[in-house]
């Protein structure tokens, strides 16, 4: 049994009624499929792994992040081109009031509308080599 499957066993133990969703998450996280970083919004995760509801999804993603299966990124989007990120942080608390927008070359004030939560799957995670 490798480290990765042990971690997913631990997720199934934590969410016994979500075994199918955990299994779909395991399939998604399977790093053999990719050699580079892949990323998903919580909304996309919800669509792909189909947990019972969104509250459970956030709990699952939080646990998966703590287990090192995912990495959580708080991304600030450009106010001009709203789909383009301009900075990334581990936590929303670290975001300054203003940022340099690399997409436009301007200093911009950060609002909550510009903040997006992203979950990343890293190719060099511990479980991929276990």
């Amino acid at each position: 049994m490798n480290m990765c499957s042990t971690k997913f066993d631990s997720l199934i133990a934590e969410f016994p009624y979500e075994a199918d969703a955990v299994s779909r998450l395991a399939n998604l996280v399977d790093v053999e499929k990719s050699t580079h970083i892949r990323e998903y919004t919580p909304a996309r995760m919800y669509h792909l792994i189909q947990p019972s509801n969104f509250r459970v999804l956030i709990q699952m993603l939080t646990s998966a992040t703590e287990l090192g299966l995912l990495k959580k990124v708080v991304r600030v989007m450009s106010p001009t081109s709203k789909l383009a990120g301009i900075a990334e942080f581990d936590s929303a608390l670290e975001i300054p009031l203003t940022l340099f927008d690399v997409r436009t070359g301007l200093d911009v004030e950060v609002t909550t509308d510009q903040i997006r939560l992203i979950y990343q799957i890293l190719p060099d995670r511990e479980c991929s080599h276990a």
Partner: protein
């Protein structure tokens, strides 16, 4: 509140919630004289006179207001619950008991007319019925502040942006269908796209009627993909102004029209978006900004944004109840 005062309040609310044309159409449908060049004329020469002549009632005004303020200019969140449980939740005896416990039993007889309540207040609880009750509707009114930019000022080497908060009346609606489908409609704000706080507060407000933890969010990703991929087939129904496709690396291709009146659907810019979807089977349509076109089923164009939460549909402008139902049903159909 006297009946006269209630009618006066209702007419004021109708004036702020809708257009003269909608009121004219409403009066025309009742075979009443309906021409009016201004709101003052509509109020005095039409509505008041028809009320005085008993050709129009307070209930009629309530129905007109309901149609005018409950659809459009909203962010709508869709959920699915258990069908059998939904049947229990919309049961009249159960709802009546909750209303009694919350001292709101009067709403079973008639909706309240609240203009600007001090706290968010449930003003209407009613059922749609077709032989059996097909849905339960709960309506809330809240007084919100709308932040309006006034200008700038420089003082002591500091630059100030000045805003004022203007009170506005907001209407939020929950509609639970007998089959377990739940719509939460929140009135749109003018200065944010995030509704988590409003949603949590409204969920708490209606918790005793509709325990929201029993419902799951409906992902609209399938509808977004289907509508974009089949846009040619659906060209009589849809006009796109923006579309974004995202891949697993987080790269985005976003196409939009120069003019908001143009159509992206058949453009080469739109075909560039297609390319990513063709090249990458896991790419998906992440954001859509589109118009449901006036057709046999719609009285006017309806603008729709699908770029928020997984289960969120935004309708930036007011629309009729019939148009709202049409658009909602189309999106649900395309989400299968």
């Amino acid at each position: 509140m006297s009946d006269k005062a209630k009618q006066e309040s209702l007419i004021n609310l109708i004036e702020s919630a809708t257009s003269l044309d909608v009121v004219k159409e409403f009066l025309r449908s009742k075979n009443l004289s309906h021409t009016a060049g201004s709101w003052q004329e509509m109020r005095e020469a039409r509505l008041q006179r028809h009320l005085n002549d008993d050709k129009l009632t307070t209930i009629d005004l309530l129905k007109l207001l309901t149609g005018a303020e409950e659809c459009g200019a909203q962010h709508v969140f869709l959920y699915q619950g258990d069908k059998k449980r939904a049947g229990e939740l919309i049961d009249r005896a159960r709802v009546g008991e909750i209303l009694k416990n919350r001292d709101l039993e009067r709403l079973l007889r008639e909706a309240d007319v609240e203009t600007m309540p001090e706290v968010p207040t449930i003003v209407d609880v009613r059922w749609e019925t077709a032989g059996v009750d097909s849905s339960l509707i709960i309506k809330e009114v809240e007084a919100r502040n709308k932040r309006v930019f006034l200008g700038t000022e420089t003082k002591d080497n500091r630059f100030y942006k000045i805003y004022t908060d203007e009170p506005v009346r907001a209407v939020n609606v929950a509609k639970l269908h007998r089959d377990g489908f739940l719509e939460i409609r929140l009135q749109a704000r003018n200065n944010t796209t995030k509704y988590d706080t409003d949603l949590s507060r409204f969920h708490r407000q209606i918790e005793s009627f509709i325990p929201w933890t029993e419902f799951a969010e409906i992902s609209l990703d399938t509808a977004k993909d289907t509508m974009w991929i089949k846009r040619e087939e659906l060209s009589d129904l849809l006009r796109y102004t923006d579309a974004s496709v995202c891949d697993q690396d987080g790269n985005v291709v976003h196409a939009y029209t120069g003019s908001p009146k143009n159509n992206l659907s058949q453009s080469n810019a739109g075909k560039c978006v297609d390319l990513l979807m063709k090249e990458d089977a896991k790419a998906y349509c992440s954001d859509s900004n589109l118009w449901f076109k006036k057709t046999d089923g719609l009285s006017s164009d309806v603008h729709v944004l699908l770029n928020g939460e997984t289960n969120e549909i935004a309708l930036p402008a007011k629309c009729s109840a019939a148009d709202y139902e049409y658009v909602l049903n189309k999106i649900r159909f395309l989400n299968r």
